[in-house]
Subunit: 340 residues, 2 copies
DNA sequence: CTGAAAGCGCTTACAG
DNA sequence: CTGAAAGCGCTTACAG
């Protein structure tokens, strides 16, 4: 396997010159550069990232931390977005999955001594105070994507949930719904996702529009471990909704996948959607259109790009013009809320 | 940032001993090991992968190459599967996207001199002869996942398309369909995906069951670039099908997403599914159930795990008991083929 | 069981 | 514009 030295010998120059020529840094004469490039080509030379990294102190690696799985609609889209801006800049994107608070703990605790990454993008994780302290003290920049709070992150990208919920509740209000509710997902108890913030935003938006406590209900998400399956969680939630005293005529559901399953379960139980209960989701994922689900569209792919742009600037030591970016959702109206 | 040397000083031993103790290699006394572990903890020590890599010659990195996007159902599931087995073994999984033949070319041509990965998993790419030659000569093992041919790869994992198509055609035959066809996807012209193999397998299966040339049709996939959008490709294909002389009463479609879109377009054009045309997809992806699509289920998540297990063994220099694994699909019957 | 030392393949001041 | 040399932080024979 050819090394810098081999290329240097071939081109009749020193390794320093080869290094400079290949990376386009420092002045190297046109002629020398060409000679070197040819020599490099001829032996299929590729820089050893390990050696470069060790010498330069930069790993050219950014880690993207996601909860539970890489292959969810949100996570995979965010990773793709980040990849699109990081790859052309020469960085490897290294996914890291955490499933339990121990996983996260191990990851965060190793951060202070970690020389294996130049930046971190963290998806849908809110940091408790201890982690905030650790993140603040490390030299590696971190960007929170879809985090509830800015705490601990050098920069954040998230969706404006308050405006989103105003859009949703506004639609329900204009359709004449007087009793409305919010349905939280079953959750991974080790992570405080965006659920609480989203239901809080829902309640605030509703009160602003004149709904009072008796007209509002929140179906709280339970620990996912309580259920044998996703389907069981859905049908249990469906039953709770149906049995509810002064049952709402419209529901905002935390995410599309749950809303879609719920719509199916409700209909199976004889509840008509949207006539008896109207439904609004959140995401506009790949199944929402087919399900005829009215929803709040967000764009994790774009969020991944933005987070990557931020981390890129931070890694270059730049000061961000807008470290905390708030994106707006788009209300997409479909059958699950009936005709406008 | 603490280095091995710092830990050694703290524990009062040499760096060699620290290195051995931390990695659990070589004999180190219980007492020494504990002292070292404590010292390491206390300064949040983490090994520098770059330095380890440079010294040991192993990068602890495996690249997974996918076409066009990370966030497709197939690709993201495969990556997740690979991650699950590679991460516990200490390897980073580094996704790499190729969109054009130039991308692939650049990647493959750099392989011979590449010291930046220990193994490669390549998804849905068939190698032409030149690449086969390059791959054969490099020292890094490669696993082909969903490749049409074994050529060039140290090992492969794929689905048995011949059996799959026999399942599908068998169902159509038993349902009494006498004129049947296969619909290819619009394709990325830079990559020869599995389309041709799949339609070939369809034709073989159909002939074996007694269908003759006049009863069979193949709607060939066109260069995706010809269309302004996916929807346009779909509606064009739909029109071709409808206009077909001696139109088939049942179609196998190359993948679910296209089948689902096609079902929608056909119905919109007044063709009843399954009464006028029955449809069978391929994948059983997350939308197939909702669409009521009969389909051939495959499991890219499992394929990713298997490919990772193979590459792991190859990287350890082991000889594979079964280098070429063929998985079976499961026929999942739903409304798009009517009642059995 | 432990240590001294060479070496992995680069980058980067420092000189010239 | 170019080169000699130090050094990045580890691993791994080699000795003892």
């Amino acid at each position: 396997m050819a090394s810098l030295q081999d290329v240097a010998d071939l081109a009749g120059v020193s390794v320093s010159t080869v290094s400079r020529a290949l990376r386009g840094t420092g002045r190297v004469s046109e002629a020398t550069r060409n000679r070197i490039k040819q020599a490099a080509e001829s032996v299929h030379f590729t820089l050893s990232r390990s050696a470069s990294s060790l010498a330069s102190g930069k790993t050219m690696r950014v880690s993207i931390v996601v909860i539970d799985r890489i292959n969810t609609w949100f996570n995979a889209s965010a990773i793709q977005g980040a990849y699109e801006v990081l790859e052309p800049a020469g960085y490897d994107v290294v996914p890291r999955v955490v499933s339990t608070s121990e996983d996260l703990d191990a990851f965060v605790r190793h951060l202070p001594g970690n020389r294996n990454l130049d930046g971190i993008i963290v998806v849908s994780i809110n940091l408790d105070d201890e982690y905030v302290r650790i993140l603040r003290d490390i030299t590696v920049p971190s960007v929170g994507l879809d985090a509830r709070s800015r705490a601990g992150y050098s920069a954040t990208v998230r969706v404006d949930e308050q405006v989103a919920m105003r859009q949703a509740v506004g639609l329900l209000h204009s359709l004449g719904h007087r009793r409305i509710g919010f349905v939280e997902m079953p959750n991974n108890p080790d992570f405080l996702l965006s659920a609480k913030r989203r239901s809080g935003a829902f309640l605030r938006a509703a009160r602003d529009l004149g709904y009072n406590e008796f007209d509002l209900s929140v179906f709280e998400g339970q620990d996912f471990g309580h259920f044998r399956s996703f389907d069981e969680a859905v049908s249990q939630t469906s039953s709770r909704i149906i049995a509810q005293f002064r049952r709402p005529t419209a529901l905002c559901v935390e995410i599309d996948d749950f809303a879609i399953a719920l719509q199916y379960a409700l209909r199976k139980a004889g509840i008509r959607v949207p006539e008896d209960i109207a439904l609004i989701g959140f995401d506009d994922n790949s199944r929402a259109e087919m399900a005829g689900l009215t929803t709040l569209r967000q764009d994790p792919h774009r969020m991944g790009q933005l987070a990557a742009e931020q981390i890129l600037q931070l890694m270059q030591g730049q000061v961000l013009a807008e470290p905390h970016q708030l994106l707006q959702t788009t209300l997409v109206t479909r059958q699950s809320t009936g005709a406008l």
